[in-house]
Amino acid sequence: MFIFNDNIKAAPRKTVESCMYDLEINIIKKIQSGDANAFEQIVDKFKDKALTLSMRILKNREDAEDSLQEAFVKTFRAITDKQFEERSKFSTYFYRIVYNTALDYYKKHKLRNYNLLKIDEPSRLGNDDEKILDNFELKIDDANYEVSGAFITEKRTLDGEMQLMVDRFLEQIPEKYATILTLFYINDLTHEEIAQTLRLPIGTVKNRIFRAKDKLKEVMLKKHTEEDIMELF
């Protein structure tokens, strides 16, 4: 019989992380010794989360996939040319390539994004900010939530609606906020790693996460009461 306490619970997580690290290093060593097919394991592991990050910047699936292909090729070259140093975390290194490649792609193709939910400069935007927010909420109303009443409880419907609201929020906020939220919540990077990846001061990273979450809370509470949310616990 196993007895769990906090220390015992924390240990396996660390072991899993170090095992993942060892696994990545082993794959990298294989690639460097000439086994190019080993790179497929890295592709399979990172492609979806990396595409999510790329989509936050480019807001278009086709462009995001093109840019991601380029990022993977650059990563492969960096590994074979032994530019990647083992002392740095591979995911941080890789996501920096993904981020830079997507930004370059954006600049090269001069993409334009409309209907972005502004978080910055509320005083300058004034009523326009409210207008954009209203527009954002209209989109949420029009969305097809794909939940049919008979089999799903009211609670789950509300939960699904909230999730959809968060997904839409992430799709529509400006890139500088969406990128940081994605790197933190989806790509599992720490504040320090995000600061390193985006070459920003750590204070800016924390501030942007705080502001974005604050705005999301505001959007949620415009549509639902605190009691509604508390009921979901």
């Binding site: 790179f39 492609k47 979806d48 996939e65 390539i97 968060v166 809370k217 949310i229």
Partner: protein, 161 residues
């Protein structure tokens, strides 16, 4: 109130963590691995040609160094009484090679002066030497860039920002 706020924060954290992860298209990995295979092949070929160029440059450098050493050795063994007569004796072999070098340089200078005269421009030999030196530095830089810097820049995708 504080408890409610904390719970809402937790709720938002949870929702952000479970937000939608985009899925790549079905043929994404297959297409990418084809590109990687091509990249791997060309990298192997490139490293082969790089090695060849390195050997060629290395052999040439060794030849020059060897030539200089041999000349130095010959001039050392052949210098004798002449040094006392004329002050400094650099030896007949070294003298011959210096003469060749001198002829070669004066030939380049005369071609350069002729070309400039053709356009109605005249410079002192000192200016021409400086211009030739700058041209030499530029040529060395361009060759260096071709063989060393270009390869490095091509493979870098990290330091863009």
């Amino acid at each position: 109130m504080a408890n409610t706020n904390r719970k809402i924060e937790e709720f938002i954290d949870g929702k952000l963590r479970s937000s939608r992860i985009e899925r790549t298209s079905d043929n994404f990995s297959a297409l990418l691995m084809k590109r990687i295979a091509v990249e791997h092949k060309s990298a192997l070929e490139e490293s082969k040609s790089d090695r060849l160029v390195k050997y060629a440059i290395g052999s040439f450098s060794m030849l020059i160094i060897g030539f200089t050493l041999v000349l130095g050795f010959i001039s050392g063994t052949t210098s004798s009484a002449g040094s006392r007569q004329n002050g400094i004796d650099i030896g007949p072999a070294m003298e011959t090679s210096n003469n060749y070098l001198e002829h070669f340089l004066s030939f380049i200078q005369s071609v350069f002066v002729g070309a400039l005269n053709f356009f109605g421009v005249t410079f002192s030999s000192r200016t021409i030497t400086i211009v030739l030196l700058i041209a030499l530095v530029a040529a060395v830089f361009l060759i260096g860039e071709r063989f060393v810097l270009r390869g490095k820049l091509r493979s870098s995708g990290v330091g863009i920002k």
